[in-house]
């Protein structure tokens, strides 16, 4: 008998699942099928243990104090930074700035740019300063976290916020972006992977176009850092932000990565303790990155937990995680598109996408879809997924989103597909709305 091996990096979710206590439970009388990792991922026991062990043995304030536990805490905290730096291809650990989450990291960049535009940061910061008529370019598919801060910066500086439009599936391409990247473009900000459509952006090509015009590239890596190998230095972007809780780590901590010379030139957004060099009653000077951005007490045990999450992902193997989720995504999209009355957004079946799919069920509101699935123990996200402009463009108020991770099984995807196939019948719309014209 021939043995067919589909991929050398094959990963077995049924084995990995044993590390995630929360996944082993019944919800509404059914085994939990957790298909909401795009919102927040579950944590393996090793992450929970790492945080607990740290808190039970060495917990102390970092970067201050002369006692043994303070030294051990500081060491663990900075080791965590090194671990994350290695995972994302940072040139040096100092390029890793702890934030509260990705939203916080994106705000750090946006408000640093605003402060530079107001003249703060001296000559070094002038490269970030925006003038009226300068352009900030985003896409129509952005999460509000990578849109609203730029709206605020534009409104405060007189810069113009422009966007790359999407098509009827919520997809955009390099060709759509190319004509919009001009000499006026100063900042290009976009999601590496869309949290609604699963579209993977052509990062390297966009970086080349943006840098040729002297624009900075800010990457929202929330849906990529947890799910695929990431080398930010090789990608060539200037800043990138992501959250710990979407990559098996604790909530309350995130990462902003930036090229070292840029971080050291960007004026801080939050000021106060721990980030200063000299303070007089009149003014202050700031420490180099990362400390200049880490004012106040830091989420120390969360950093320890995140580092363990990173080690867990490294042990699982990121190429394998990516391959596993690509197969799940294909199963999801092919399955959904085969169901009458279902409109799937994002790249069509056959085109690679991240492990998530958002869809509309004709005649049934997403909240009702989510409720129906929950009654079968299937957890999905419903709503606008913090992307109102995209949903407005797609002509739907809300969608249902299923998202996967390394612990997701084919069986869970199949249960979702079976559940979705029943929804329109339950709400009595199987024939009524399926042929209704939609824009």
């Amino acid at each position: 008998m021939d043995v067919v091996i589909t991929t050398s990096a094959a990963l077995d979710p049924t084995v990995l699942r044993l590390d995630f206590p929360i996944l082993d439970q019944q919800v509404n009388g059914y085994p939990l099928a957790y298909l909401d990792s795009g919102a927040t991922a579950q944590r393996p026991r090793s992450v929970l243990d790492a945080e607990r062990t740290f808190l039970e043995t060495v917990n102390s304030a970092v970067h201050r104090g002369a006692h043994t536990l303070a030294a051990l805490s500081t060491e663990a905290f900075e080791d965590a930074r090194e671990t994350v730096a290695r995972f994302i291809g940072a040139a040096v650990p100092e390029e890793v700035v702890w934030t509260s989450n990705a939203t916080d990291g994106l705000n750090l960049v946006a408000y640093g740019v605003l402060n530079a535009s107001l003249g703060r940061g001296g000559a070094d910061a002038r490269r970030f300063a925006l003038q009226p008529g300068d352009e900030i370019l985003v896409t129509e598919a952005e999460h509000h976290a990578n849109l609203v801060p730029w709206q605020e910066v534009a409104a405060s500086t007189g810069a113009v916020l422009r966007y790359v439009p999407v098509d009827d599936r919520g997809v955009w391409s390099l060709d759509d972006a190319r004509p919009l990247i001009t000499a006026r473009t100063r900042i290009l900000a976009f999601a590496h992977v869309s949290n609604v459509t699963g579209l993977v952006a052509p990062v390297a090509d966009l970086v080349e176009l943006a840098h040729a015009q002297g624009a900075l590239v800010v990457l929202d890596a929330c849906q990529s850092a947890p799910h695929r190998p990431l080398d930010l230095t090789a990608l060539g972007v200037d800043f990138a932000a992501f959250s710990s809780h979407k990559m098996l780590g604790p909530s309350g901590i995130g990462v902003l990565w930036g090229r070292e010379e840029l971080l050291n030139a960007l004026p801080p957004f939050r000021t106060g303790g721990s980030m200063i060099s000299t303070v007089t009653m009149e003014s202050s000077t700031f420490l180099p990155a990362p400390q200049r951005f880490e004012a106040g007490t830091q989420p120390v045990s969360q950093a320890i937990g995140l580092a363990e999450a990173v080690r867990y992902l490294e042990r699982a193997g990121m190429p394998g995680v990516e391959a596993h989720e690509e197969l799940l995504a294909e199963r999801l999209v092919v399955g959904l598109e085969a169901i009458e009355g279902i409109r799937v957004f994002g790249p069509a079946a056959g085109i690679p996408r991240a492990g998530l799919a958002s869809f509309d069920v004709a005649g049934v509101h997403a909240h009702d879809v989510g409720q129906y699935l929950d009654a079968q123990g299937i957890a999905v996200r419903v709503g606008h997924h913090c992307a109102q402009p995209l949903h407005r463009r797609l002509g739907v108020a809300a969608t249902t989103r299923a998202s996967t991770y390394l612990y997701t099984t084919d069986d869970e995807v199949d249960r979702l597909l079976a559940g979705v196939a029943e929804v329109r019948g339950y709400f009595g719309v199987d024939s009524a709305a399926s042929s209704a014209g939609r824009d």
Binding site: H367, D368, A375, G383, Q388, A397, F427
Partner: protein, 150 residues
């Protein structure tokens, strides 16, 4: 699966979500209010016409977009409201709100609420209570406008 879901989606609710009462524009309304639930994007505009020279509701109509719970609730409200004075509507709104906060405990007053008692099961689903309240809150705002005017 039946029990959890059947408690929420009573047949009355499913019927009203499909065949909706009062789902239309209303010319010459005496009051109008737009209400939105930003977490799910549900939205509704409720309009009210009073009997001439009185505070008795002649018509309550609405236009909106949302889940079956919010749409069915608006439909039930549009059935219930005509013929009531603003004070009588306020009494029913208070009773409906109390029922939605009950977490399924107690016996709602069917004489007062009519078909709206079907929503008692929704009160056990905390995340859906706002859906059921949407049109009632909008109608309450219409009443406030009318009370200020009179």
């Amino acid at each position: 699966m039946g029990d959890a879901l059947a408690g929420l989606y009573q047949q009355v609710i499913l019927d009203h979500a499909r065949a909706r009462t009062g789902d239309r524009a209303l010319e010459g309304a005496d009051a109008e209010h737009y209400e939105r639930n930003p977490t799910c994007g549900d939205e509704i505009t409720v309009r009210v016409i009073l009997e001439p020279g009185s505070d008795r509701i002649r018509e309550l109509a609405w236009q909106g977009d949302g889940c079956s719970i919010s749409m069915a609730s608006a439909s039930v409200l549009a059935d219930l409201a005509p013929g009531l004075t603003l004070a009588e509507l306020a009494e029913r709104t208070d009773a409906f709100r109390a029922m939605m906060r009950s977490r399924g405990v107690g016996e709602p007053d069917e004489d007062l609420l009519g078909d709206a008692v079907a929503f008692q099961g929704v009160s056990k689903f905390m995340m859906r209570v706002k859906c059921a309240m949407l049109s009632w809150v909008a109608a309450e705002a219409c009443s406030t406008q009318l009370a200020v005017r009179s």
